[in-house]
């Protein structure tokens, strides 16, 4: 059991850690935009700032996916889930997590190919930043992988205990 407990805390740490990293990407976006504005006002140019902000945006989104999932931030249509008996609910939850997990790993497989392709061919951004594209694309790959792990984790939990581990805290402010 201690191994399982250890794995549990490692995984939870991974999800939260990725979320924190995503938050740092947001701060980086803020920083980039301010620097770019300052540059414009003082007549300087900061080439590639929009591209860099875009890369951080992608990393911020993907790295936070798993954390958002575990905290119940992702939106789903829950009418059916709320209406059925617990036994049926368990079946539907299993179906949802199974579909999501399959899609998650499917995405990871092609994301891996996508990044490897960029790496092998040394793809360079078309913008002024001249960035080697596999570097920012890795953020997407890592985030997607962590999401797929989180979905698998949840699926196993649903299969073994009948319920997921998503904890929705207070009001989501998405809408």
């Amino acid at each position: 059991m201690t191994i399982l407990k250890g794995l549990r805390s490692v995984l939870d740490g991974l999800y939260f850690g990725a979320g924190v990293l995503a938050a740092m990407c947001l701060i980086a976006i803020l920083g980039l935009i301010i620097v770019q504005m300052l540059a414009r006002w003082t007549g300087e140019v900061f080439p590639g700032a929009p591209e860099y902000a875009g890369y951080f945006m992608a990393s911020a989104s993907f790295l936070a996916f798993a954390h958002a999932l575990n905290r119940g931030a992702h939106i789903r249509v829950s009418i059916l889930l709320n209406a059925v008996r617990p036994g049926v609910k368990r079946v539907i939850e299993t179906w949802c997590f199974a579909v999501a997990t399959a899609l998650g790993w499917y995405f990871v497989y092609y994301a891996w190919r996508f990044v490897k392709f960029s790496y092998d061919f040394g793809d360079i951004s078309q913008g002024q930043d001249k960035m080697l594209l596999w570097i920012p694309q890795s953020g997407m790959l890592i985030g997607a992988t962590i999401l797929a792990i989180a979905l698998t984790d949840q699926l196993i939990h649903v299969l073994s205990t009948g319920d997921h581990r998503i904890k929705t805290d207070s009001v989501g402010l998405g809408e």
Binding site: G19, V20, A22, A23, L26, I27, I29, L30, I33, I34, Q36, M37, R40, P50, E51, A53, G54, Y55, M57, A58, A60, S61, F62, A64, F65, H67, A68, L69, R71, A73, H74, I75, R76, V77, S78, I79, L80, L81, I92, E93, W95, C96, V99, A100, L103, G104, Y106, F107, Y109, Y110, A111, F114, P136, Q137, M140, V171, G172, L173, G174, E175
Partner: protein, 436 residues
Amino acid sequence: MEELYAIILFLFVLFLLLGTGVWVGLALLGVAWVGMELFTTRPVGDTMLTTIWSSSSSWTLTALPLFIWMGEILYRTRLSEDMFRGLSPWMAGLPGGLVHTNIVGCTVFAAVSGSSAATLTTVGKMSIPELRKRSYPEPMVIGTLAGAATLGLMIPPSLTLIVYGVTINESITKLFFAGILPGLVLASMFMAYVAIYSRVSSTWQPNPEPAMSFGEKLNNSRFLIPVILLITVVIGSMYLGYATATEAAAFGVIGGLLLAAGQGSLNWNTFSESLMGATRTSAMIALILAGAAFLSLSMGFTGLPRALADLIAQWELSRFELLMVLLVFYIILGCFLDGISSVVLTMAVVEPMIRQAGIDLIWFGIFIVVVVEMAQITPPIGFNLFVLQGMTGHEMGFIARAAIPMFLIMVLMVFVLIAFPELATWLPDNLRAGPG
């Protein structure tokens, strides 16, 4: 014929995945995958990655997390208390009294936050207990709050408008300005309703407010002034062309942090909570947008948008009739889906129709926002109703009934918007050209 079966299968998968509760973003991704497999011979996985990478790493998208963050910061300040205390002395003299603080409060908070749930909780937290204490009729208190909170989606910054703008590639700044006048008109319509109701109703007997001198009133609202200033800077910088939407959002975050610090409510806790909250909400929307980007590519291959646009053209619907069809369609859709999901899910199909009918896409953005706003206050899954249920402990049916007049006012707003399209198009047409 085979084509038809494929389309039916495609739609079936769409309803199956969404209906059983697969997370919206992933459901869209799954449907898109099915569509690609059915209708093309392209390498599906690789196309998916190229599409999602370019949409997720887009520079226009960066306005989204920053505006969310700004709202999250202000949500965690003492703004709620200040809002009620600052607004109520000015509203006490109006017919309808302090119920107006709900509407004006929502309008003000809508201008710092793009979310209607945040608007609702910020204003309601304080105004519900205060209004109850003064024995205002409960349905009025709750109904106006449910209705006015939807202004959060219309008055800039608006998350729905950012998502709409990103989806159809229109200027977010223009969309923001298109929302201002209709938002204010809608707010005035709510206020007019309250005023009339208070004069006609026999049960309207709130406790009178103590009289206040002008100086006292001003003193009470001194905490609101920095917020108004922040709104002016954020919106003004966009209007005068000093800043893009993203840059204005950066002003908003910095301004929000300064404001919170000045109030003494900025500490590590509120800072990290606001940041993590913004990270999650923006990830939630990003997942939907990623799925939607792939879906709209896939939709293109199914030929569904083209076919529907042709069908609509064949019916020779007038613009008005087309808009009525869409109105009913979105109200029904809104019973099951949240606003942002409805917009991204349908735009791939609706956009060609709208273009063909010669309807201005900026104007249509405001139309669609009013319509999905209505969905926030209609059962079974009106989001604002849930939030209010949590806050007041009333039954869903009671809250939904209290919100019906607001729903009807919003329907009226749709017709006002159709009759006077300049409400939405005048400000964006007169914007100063901005940077990039």
